[in-house]
Symmetry: C2
Subunit: 120 residues, 2 copies
């Protein structure tokens, strides 16, 4: 089965005033995910701006042309990493990206910004 990617917006401000000295909350989220225990087949990628600025922190789950893409927002680097890992693992275990509703973590059920159908 093809691997999946967690695309993490590294420029998200998450509503906090910008501080040139401090890393952005989006970068904090990428760092927190890098420190987490990701299953095989799950790749992390930092992206400068997912254009979801009013709903940062944000991530996009992609898994090739056969899977639905999902975008999630309003994520908290200090709180949501375990649920993101759980949800990404469930997504990686599917062929088409469609995880049964009850198996999705609560943040994926409630904080979806958009989904995009497979391109093949």
């Amino acid at each position: 089965m093809a691997g999946i990617t967690i695309n993490v917006c590294t420029t998200c401000r998450r509503g906090v005033p910008d501080d040139a000295e401090a890393p952005r909350p989006g970068t904090d989220l990428l760092n927190a995910l890098e420190a987490a225990d990701l299953p095989e087949g799950v790749t992390l990628r930092g992206v400068e701006c997912l254009s979801a600025c009013s709903n940062g922190c944000s991530i996009a789950l992609t898994g090739g042309p056969g899977r639905w893409t999902y975008v999630y927002g309003n994520l908290d680097p200090a709180e949501h990493v375990p649920e993101i890992v759980q949800g990404a693992s469930a997504y990686a275990a599917t062929e088409d990206g469609l995880v049964p509703w009850r198996e999705r973590p609560v943040i994926f059920r409630k904080q979806s910004i958009a989904r995009i159908p497979p391109q093949e």
Copy 2:
């Protein structure tokens, strides 16, 4: 150059109360785009729910693994079809999906919900 697809959410309610007798605003948008003069290489596809319900009507522009994907929302079937066609045409003319900012229609500049990087 690979063709592109305008994925139109047909189930969007656009904040109006649901009326079982009337077509949904998302379906109206699909119909209005079907009646428009789309350039070669631009395909329309109706999709049941892009999970952008609080920002309907919504569309997603996709163009294969080499292009960025863009999701736009708060679209009006009666007002925005010419700009959607213009923006989709400009998107179709790129290799990577990145249209220079000034060449994007205003609704694409102001009503972006998310963008997703190329998967290759």
